[in-house]
């Protein structure tokens, strides 16, 4: 009995100190709704590509950008080096007083910009690097000025560098750099009539607070300035001829990427390419290739249209100060002028494109009045306006869903999941769920009974009333264990079918109410 008394006491003490050796657990049978949701066309299709027509019908307005056109192909500032060596023309040594300016050297320097003739430039980023070697036996000050420039405060770019004393046998070298970010250059030179040219000046003084120094023709200073990594923000003038080829590039085409098989008959669609030229110069664009690729089926369909392989002229953009009006060109694809219907009905998930562009194909026809803002050049978008008016035949959608469960978080041993659907869409849907292995491949399926029936429709295939139906999915213990321990991702597959002709129109107020109810055996567990 004493032992039991002790056991009782110890047990109670253990209870209140919350130190338990194992979990308390038991099984329960639960029959309960879990989640409910209303699906509308907004849920099925992203808001960004959905547009609503006046009759409340829905159009998919899908856009994807053709490969971005790199602004650097149009215009690039090469690194530019300016060097100078200065000696003293005195055969006999001469003494220089403190503060004496012994070099004053203005010069004009030109950027090598091929055939471009730029008279003005604003710099986004870049720097001027210097290397000064001095044999003067006293501290000297070097002042470097670039005329006709303005920094962010409106001042002329000028910098002074202090170089310690050196000797002939042991000259001093000063190395460093200055940022040119935000500096604007007038590139018309000293006369104001040149192009690509800037004027600079080097001044060298003996330290005013130092001592007098004695120099001769054996002493010299050497200066090297280099403008490097100059990225312009804006240039004005004649920006020259250039050309650019991009691709072939594989572009993700997400509008149909969840459709795995089946056919869809589209009643009508509007497809076009819009090109916008923000450059203040004439340009040309050529679409060499647009290939619709369905990686699931392996089918590819190349767009056949008069624009393919032919140059399209792009008018120059107009700079109104606060914004730029681009020169726009639109290329329409219809079933009459192309095979665009075949391109779309291929249900592709990739579009392969190759684009070629030319700038100033006719040369300097603007008398040097081109401009280029480097953050906005030429844009080309491929647009699809697809009214959801279609006939779907076994259109198979697949969506991977991660249930985010594991042995710790999921206490359910087995479950019968019932999906109660009130379908207000004019199509029926057959649901299937697949377990995926650790590598994402199909492992097994879950038994699904029933299908979501289409709403009742009139002769025009317009919904007159929703229809209720139930789909049941059995998840036995071994498959639940697989989800808990191997891979909690499942592949949801839904096969849609609409009525046959006339084409079924999807309206925005169509909906499907779904309620998920489970009849499950679960473990209650606590420590």
């Amino acid at each position: 009995m004493i032992r039991n008394l002790l056991t009782c006491t110890i047990a109670l003490l253990v209870l209140f100190s919350c130190k338990r050796k194992e979990d308390t657990r038991w099984d329960v049978e639960l029959l309960t709704p879990v989640v409910k949701t209303r699906l509308t066309i907004d849920d099925l299709v992203g808001d960004s590509i959905l547009s609503i027509n006046p009759d409340n019908s829905v159009t998919l307005d899908y856009t994807f950008g053709l490969s971005p056109i790199d602004e650097e192909f149009f215009f690039e500032i090469p690194d530019t080096t300016i060097t100078a060596s200065y000696g003293f023309p005195f055969l006999t040594p001469v003494t220089l007083a403190p503060g004496f300016q012994f070099i004053s050297d203005p010069s004009e320097n030109e950027f090598n910009l091929n055939d471009a003739k730029i008279d003005y430039m604003e710099i986004q980023s870049g720097e001027i690097a210097y290397k000064i070697t001095s044999e003067i036996p006293e501290r000297t000050f070097y002042t470097y000025t670039i005329f006709k420039t303005k920094d962010k405060r409106g001042n002329v770019f000028t910098k002074t560098i202090s170089v310690p004393a050196g000797t002939r046998s042991n000259p001093t070298t000063a190395i460093g750099s200055f940022k040119l970010d935000g500096v604007s250059f007038d590139l018309t030179g000293n006369s104001g009539t040149k192009f690509n040219t800037f004027e600079s000046e080097v001044l060298v003084n003996v330290d005013p607070a130092g001592s007098s120094v004695t120099v001769s023709n054996l002493d010299s200073v050497y200066i090297e300035n280099k403008l490097i990594s100059i990225k312009p923000k804006y240039v004005r003038g004649y920006i020259g001829k250039s050309s650019f080829l991009d691709g072939p590039t594989r572009n993700n085409f997400t509008i149909f990427d969840q459709i795995k098989s089946g056919t869809v008959d589209i009643d009508s669609l509007e497809i076009f390419t819009e090109v916008r030229n923000f450059v203040g110069a004439e340009a040309q664009l050529k679409l060499n290739q647009l290939l619709s690729v369905n990686t699931q089926t392996g089918n590819s369909v190349a767009l056949s249209h008069s624009s393919i392989g032919n140059w399209v002229n792009l008018n120059r953009g107009i700079d109104v100060g606060t914004s730029i009006f681009p020169g726009k060109t639109r290329i329409d694809y219809t079933t009459r002028n192309s095979n665009i219907d075949l391109v779309i009905e291929n249900l592709s998930d990739e579009m392969v494109t190759q684009v070629e562009t030319r700038l100033n194909p006719l040369g300097n026809i603007s008398s040097g009045n081109d401009f280029l803002y480097f953050d906005q050049v030429v844009e080309a978008d491929f647009h699809i306006k697809l009214p959801l008016r279609l006939v779907a035949n076994n259109l198979k959608f697949q969506q991977k869903i991660d249930l985010q469960i594991n042995e710790e978080s999921n206490p359910v041993h087995d479950a019968l999941v019932s999906i109660y659907a009130e379908n207000g869409f004019p199509f029926d849907a057959e649901v299937q769920l697949y377990l995926l292995d650790e590598w994402g491949g199909f492992y097994d399926s879950l038994v699904v009974t029933g299908r979501i029936q289409s709403a009742n429709t009139d002769a025009q295939n317009k919904v007159t009333s929703p229809v209720n139906s139930v789909v049941k999915i059995a998840i036995p213990e071994n498959k639940m264990e697989f989800l808990n321990t191997k891979n909690s991702e499942v592949m949801l597959q839904i096969i849609f079918n609409t009525n046959s002709l006339p084409h079924t129109t999807i309206y925005r107020d169509y909906y499907m109410d779904l309620k998920l109810v489970t009849d499950m055996n679960a473990e209650i567990n606590y420590r």
């Binding site: 209870l15 657990r25 038991w26 329960v28 949701t37 309620k515 109810v517």
Partner: protein
């Protein structure tokens, strides 16, 4: 806690030194004690319906099998009880002095005690729902109302006076509340629709929770005042004892709800099944729970009232009986009766039969030892529960007194 200990020690020494001054002038007589230290410990758990195997697994871990659930289910009725108590107290009494000249027969004492109580009263349907699930209630109503769960833990620091012949004592205590959780469901009728498509709950309940972040020893989640009182009544044949008559105020980081509503549940609503998240699900699910506010609340302490027949030390054998009740603790009035036998001048044993509290009928035994300086005793308050898995609880108490 350190501050409180310091205050206790200072109080002890200041009062003790005063007592020494008063007794210094007394002439040497037969030895009589100057101080008394008492310690009491009581631990028990029990249920009117849950057997020990079930309680053991519920409290200490293990698989509650379907067979065990069925066995317990057969014993449940419309109102079932379960409770756990763990209490201890230490008292120091100055026996030679009084602080109050107007009460020359009274001696002061200071004490410290800790009380922990977890209790529940619940319906048969609540038991079935909790341990079997709601599938069996398809197209039926589970009546979960008139159920109550209370968990209470507090310490007390007491100052009191006790008559030198120990016939009467009175103490006042500062209550240090550690933790309080109270779920009181006046009505909770849960209807499960056919196929589980909907659940309907008619609910009228009150939830009171103290600060979940502060639950430990001397946590001061709440504070209050309590009174202890003890006296002899009815021709001094019975000892009446009232422990912890008082209130506690809970204001720090509390949660409170008092809701009366009918709730229809047909699933946690999510906005877009294709882009939902666990966070959205949990947030919407939490919205279904009764709305909690941070309103503070007041609770009455689980007051214990005891009435015991006073024993006569002159008798070798005598009957013992009494009654104990604990308020606000899902407690049944506890009645006991038995016999006490003097084995020698120092040893006494007793046996009794008890009914009530948190358990049904049970046996108790105890053994007591006393000398001039020491009194001690141990007691099993649920002997049957100690030996049988089908017993409905377990209990143990002990006390010790040292005079010096």
């Amino acid at each position: 806690m350190r501050a409180i200990t310091s205050i206790l020690i200072l109080t002890f020494f200041s009062l003790s030194s005063q007592g020494q001054l008063d007794t210094a002038s007394q002439s040497k007589k037969e030895w009589s004690p100057s101080y008394k230290i008492e310690a009491e410990f009581e631990a028990n758990y029990g249920s009117t319906d849950l057997n020990n195997e079930f309680i053991d697994k519920l409290l200490f871990g293990g698989q509650i099998t379907p067979e065990l659930k069925d066995k317990v289910l057969k014993r449940t009725n419309n109102r079932n009880r379960f409770g756990v108590e763990l209490n201890y107290e230490i008292k120091f009494t100055e026996l030679t002095d009084t602080l109050f000249p107007s009460l020359p027969a009274y001696r002061y004492y200071i004490g410290f005690g800790s009380y922990t109580n977890l209790s529940a009263s619940f319906t048969k349907d609540l038991y079935k729902l909790a341990f079997y699930g709601n599938t069996q209630f398809e197209n039926e109503t589970a009546q979960l109302g008139k159920s109550n769960f209370t968990s209470y833990k507090f310490e007390k620091i007491t100052f009191g006076l006790r008559h030198q012949n120990e016939s009467t004592s009175f103490g006042i205590s500062l209550i240090v509340g550690d933790q309080y959780s109270g779920f009181n469901f006046k009505q909770a009728d849960l209807f499960t629709f056919t196929d589980g498509t909907d659940l309907s709950l008619e609910y009228d309940g009150k939830i009171r929770l103290s600060d979940p972040e502060r639950r430990g020893f001397m946590a001061f989640s709440g504070a209050g005042i309590g009174i202890d009182f003890e006296t002899l009544v009815y021709k001094k044949m019975f000892r009446l004892k009232v422990t912890n008559l008082g209130v506690a105020f809970w204001k720090r980081n509390t949660s409170f709800s008092h809701t009366q509503e009918t709730k229809e549940f047909d699933g946690v609503e999510i906005s877009n099944v294709f882009s939902t998240s666990q966070e959205e699900f949990l947030e919407n699910a939490n919205g279904l729970l009764p709305e909690m506010t941070d309103q503070g609340f007041v609770t009455l302490l689980p007051t214990i009232i005891e009435l015991h027949k006073k024993t006569n030390p002159e008798l070798q054998s005598q009957p013992i009986y009494g009654i104990r009740y604990k308020f606000f603790s899902n407690y049944l009035p506890q009645l006991y009766g038995g016999i006490q036998q003097q084995l020698s001048s120092k040893f006494v044993v007793r046996g009794d039969i008890t009914w009530g509290g948190y358990s049904g009928l049970r046996l108790g035994v105890g053994a007591f030892y006393h000398t001039k300086r020491i009194q001690a005793g141990i007691q099993s308050t649920n002997l049957s529960g100690m030996f049988f898995q089908n017993g409905n609880g377990n209990g143990f108490s002990a006390f010790g007194t040292f005079l010096f």
